[in-house]
């Protein structure tokens, strides 16, 4: 049976279609469901093996990106979310979905599994929305979504993506504890500064993973790099037979982890 993924949709979500497509391309059954349906009936989540929070501007992001959706999830879905992870499910937050997970405290989930926010994704240093292609490298040894040490060329597009921890000790705990899923790097793997680190994230943190390795969020959009022709420089290279792009590995592994 195909793993079932719930792609959560709210007012202003705008990457639900391609995120669902990416999961289906690698063998899952993905269903987009409006958050109103889920808050009306939280037990709906029990019918799924995974939850994807796609990109967009949930409720306009006018207070802070992902904040309002995070409040709704905390108010109505705290227990079903933890139950999903406890029974071996996965949670993937991309861009606005990552911002939402951070604001629920589910990522990185160090001082409590959920509900305590120790890090945030603040306004980009440039104070502008930025759409660019970046290189990221996977770091954490326990993410079910990717092996460590892999470098991906993927696009991102956001105005609030600067990872900041509440203090140096928290940041150290995050780095030392293997909570960093991805870092922005230069093309050859070096330390990135603007624009390779497009938002000023501390230590180039581009994504986080929780203690289980089954909850992950990242600012870049792997679903916008699932085909080879997504790359800005694909015309200079021979296309692969499978037309696969750099971001595909995350969805492949996610589905694999649920089989």
């Amino acid at each position: 049976m195909k793993p079932r993924i719930l792609v959560l949709r709210a007012a202003g979500t705008n990457c639900d279609v391609e995120t669902a497509f990416a999961f289906e391309r690698y063998g899952a059954k993905a269903t987009a469901i409006h958050v109103n349906r889920l808050t009306e009936k939280p037990e709906l989540l029990a019918e799924f093996d995974g939850l994807a929070l796609p990109g967009g501007f949930s409720y306009g992001d006018d207070i802070a990106a992902g904040k309002v959706l995070a409040i709704e999830l905390l108010a109505r879905l705290r227990d079903p979310l933890l139950a999903l992870v406890d029974r071996g499910g996965i949670v993937l937050g991309i861009c606005n979905g990552f911002q939402t997970l951070v604001k629920t405290g589910l990522l990185p989930g160090i001082s409590a599994r959920i509900g305590a926010q120790d890090v945030t994704l603040a306004d980009n240093d440039s104070c502008r929305y930025e759409d660019r292609w970046v290189h990221i490298e996977s770091v954490s040894p326990r993410s079910v979504f990717i092996q460590p040490g892999q470098r991906l060329h993927v696009p991102l597009a956001h105005g609030e993506g600067k990872y900041v921890a509440k203090d140096a000790a928290t940041h150290k705990k995050i780095v030392d504890g293997g909570f960093v899923a991805f870092r922005y790097v230069t093309e050859d793997g070096g330390v990135a500064s603007y624009p390779e680190n497009p938002n000023g994230s501390i230590d180039g943190v581009a994504g986080l993973v929780d203690t289980t390795g089954r909850v992950m969020g990242l600012m870049p959009h792997p679903e916008r790099a699932m085909f080879a022709v997504h790359s800005p420089s694909w015309t200079g290279a021979a296309l692969r037979e499978d037309d696969e792009g750099a971001g595909a590995v995350i969805f492949k592994n996610a589905v694999q982890a649920l089989r």
Binding site: R9, A11, G12, T13, N14, C15, V17, E18, F21, A22, H34, N36, R37, G56, F57, Y59, G60, D61, D62, I63, A64, K67, V68, I71, E72, A75, Q117, D118, V119, T120, A122, D123, N124, D125, S126, C127, R128, Y129, E130, D131, R132, W133, P155, A157, V164, A165, K166, H221, E223, R224, M226, F227, V229, H230, P232, S233, T235, G236, L239, D243
Partner: protein
Amino acid sequence: MPSPSPAVFRIEVQVKPAFSDSRGNSALAELRGLGLAGLSNVRSVRGFALALPGGRAAAERIAREALADAVVDDAAVLDADARPQLPAGFAHRIDIVKRKGVMDPAADGVLRAIMALGEPVAGVRTYTAFLVAGTVSADKLGDGAARALGNAAIEDIAVDQPHAIDPTTSGSTGAFTKVDVPLPMGDAELLDVSKTGGLSLSLIEMQAIRKHFAELGRAPTDVELETIAQTWSEHCKHKTLAGAVNCDGRRYDNLLKETIFKATKDLARPWCISVFKDNAGVIAFDDRHHVTFKVETHNHPSAIEPYGGAGTGIGGVLRDTMGTGLGAKPIVSTDVFCFGPPDLPASEVPAGALHPRRVLKGVVAGVRDYGNRMGIPTANGALVFDRRFIGNPLVFCGSVGLLPADKVEKAARAGDRIVVVGGRTGRDGIHGATFSSRELHHESETLDSGAVQIGNAIQEKKVLDAQLQARDLGLYTCVTDCGAGGLSSAVGEMAEGLGAVVDLERVPLKYDGLTYAEIWISEAQERMVLSVAPEHEAQLLDLFRREDVEATVIGTFTTSGRLELRYRGVEVGNLDLEFLHHGVPRVVRHATVKPGGEPEPTLADEVDLNATLERLFAQPDIASKEWVVHQYDHEVQAGSVIKPFVGPGQKTPSDAAVVRPKLDSFRGIAIGNGICPRVGDIDAYAMGLLAIDEAIRNVLAVGARFDECALLDNFCSASCERPEVLGAVVRVAEACRDAALAWQTPFVSGKDSLNNEFRTQNGTVQIPTTILISSIALVVDVRHALSSDFKRAGNAIVLLGLTRPELGGSAYYAMHGRLGRCPPRVDLVRAKAVFTALAKLTSERLVTSCHDLSDGGLAVALAEMAFSRGLGVDVDLAKVPAADGEEHAPSIERDDVLLFSESPTRFVLEIEPQRLRDVERILADVPHAVIGTVTGDGRVRARSLTGARVLDADVQHLAHVFHHSLDLGSAMAQDALRGHDKDSR
């Protein structure tokens, strides 16, 4: 009994001092950018005024759990009338508060958050403040804030002034009076009715209305006159372009119908599905889907309030897509802007105009915030600069949609419910153009009419999500958008051939106190009108409710042939639809063609062409637009194939966007545009052909098909009351006809904006007559699309097309402050051969990369192609195919002419050596030559006609100039950050 009004609190959120405050830093940079000295630090405050029945405890909880970030923010809860304390070290506080009646979209999200916390809330209003450290005076700061941080057209900007903000909405619902407007017999008095009412109806039109109502034996009501004015407006009826014109003796009974429409009709291309009748043009895409394309202008609103004007511009054209057929899904947006020079000295900005930089930044931010939130990639565009656009910028917003092939036809049926969905109706965009009595005017002062609108993208996204579901369930029979004219135009249009009864008190309002006429003509954003069969009414209303979108039945379609308007049971309007849609009197306008141009200049021989090329790359028209492009999400929906910048590091500008609308298919579309107003200063006909040539070059350069390429026209001009302006418009229309017929590239949609002037103390500034041509063409398999970056050293460089001494209106002449007299002239027959040959080359996959030649000519194109991969180029100008005696043009004897001429229909092709023979075979009958090779040394080199080395420039250096000459943000922001560090030490 009314309950006591809840306590109002203000919650002010700031980034903690330990963390960087990028909004504050950005404000500091903006203020310094105005030349304001003495500033050492700026911190930003996000303010929320809340009416809370739960009192202070609720306010504290909301501040902590919803409004302040747990990691980086501090929050303060203040009483409504408390004066916030300035922290130590700060001298001033700037408060920026949206005026009452101006849309505050951020309040929606705050409301949702508070509701999710389970707290009751009676009203939300957001505001912004800045705390300023330094020695600047309050007056100067206020002036700077008005120029850089807020906009007095929609916001109150105060320095060091306590302010009261009322988060609740109010307004009274008193008794109403039906207003009749007797039309006087005297012509002068009659015209006065139009003028004082802001109806923009001419005397002849007013006379026709007077006659119509005289026959009925009654006076029109205010709302009837408004409805006629909206329906007969230039915006809705295109009276000028669809009117009769006498142009120096050439007579057109209907200019558009006899030129552009006729060409499309005569061509009868089978893939043209719906042209010039729906809200957008529709062409075939594949077996199951069509694509739609529409481009609109939003010039005047963007001049007054660039952010709101551009945002509602993109919001409006997206609704055009949603209102095409039974509703297409927007998949790509385009944006083309014409502004004054960004480096204009502040002293030269005329009174009443904003600085072009301010306009540019505001417009870009407006498109960014609306388009990005809607989740639609903004993938193609252009920027043009000219002093005549200072007071009257041009803002073109385009939208491409994907429409199921079985959802093209639509028609409301008698008995169908009229359902308005989306945002609520307020006084937005009424401009006070109502016939309200003095009393009603007085009442309307309690709520400022939001003449300038702010869009709410999330509202529109919700409408889109719900509407497409309803479409696929077949829950409605017809749809159109509420745009100009509001409900009056939307319902009036859908009721044509039927009839309609509308109960205006049913329309959901943002606040009380609107008159029935205001409700009917309000241009409040984010609304669509659907016709719904009674048996689907309940299901449709429920579907929208589940998506948190308001949907309301406001009336019924009938068979009466009349538009019947009622308010609280009283009939306030009853119009004959035949008269409404076909009663506008026709007039003959006079046009004359005036030759333009200046004597052809004789420029001194260029001694250093390297320096010339570098200077060209610094011109705002040529310099990289990446500061704009990177703020747009051009990847969302995961369909992007050829992006605005291509190659490793995305350094080379591309010619057109290639997008794959369906994730499960490699079939794609290419989108390009052509715009060249400078050429129009010499010859409007030449401009028309050149703009079309460029739009087609764009899409062919990325590998699109020439035989499935459609065009859109957008005319912009000063007032066509001036015969020479209308003459230019006629010549452009004739160019569109001629090119469409010659190349079999039909126009499928168009729009015009024909009154773009700006009055200054020194007289009226007219914009140059400007045509924007947008192109859309099929790409059979996007995996064979081409990009414009050179790929490999050793490959041959083929120049396709003929170079002539055509520098009139060129970037090269403009850089020297000259216009010239010899513009690029398109040869329709030869161009067709060139286009056909290129399409064959690309379909046979013989081309490695391709770039079209436009602003800056051959030299600019070659250098741009080399930007991406550390490659270079070496060409021999003696080999450039140039006009000879047979072309009735002088031969070219100057290297600068060969390098910078902007002759049309030319491309640089990179060809692998082993493919040259096949390429030569296909190009046998068109002008072309191998002019050099791609090199590996990172230099752009050219040998002169005499064999001397005339160009030898470092590619990386040119790339640097290209990439950094039009940077409006980061350099300034970084300067400010550095300054801040210095000051705080």
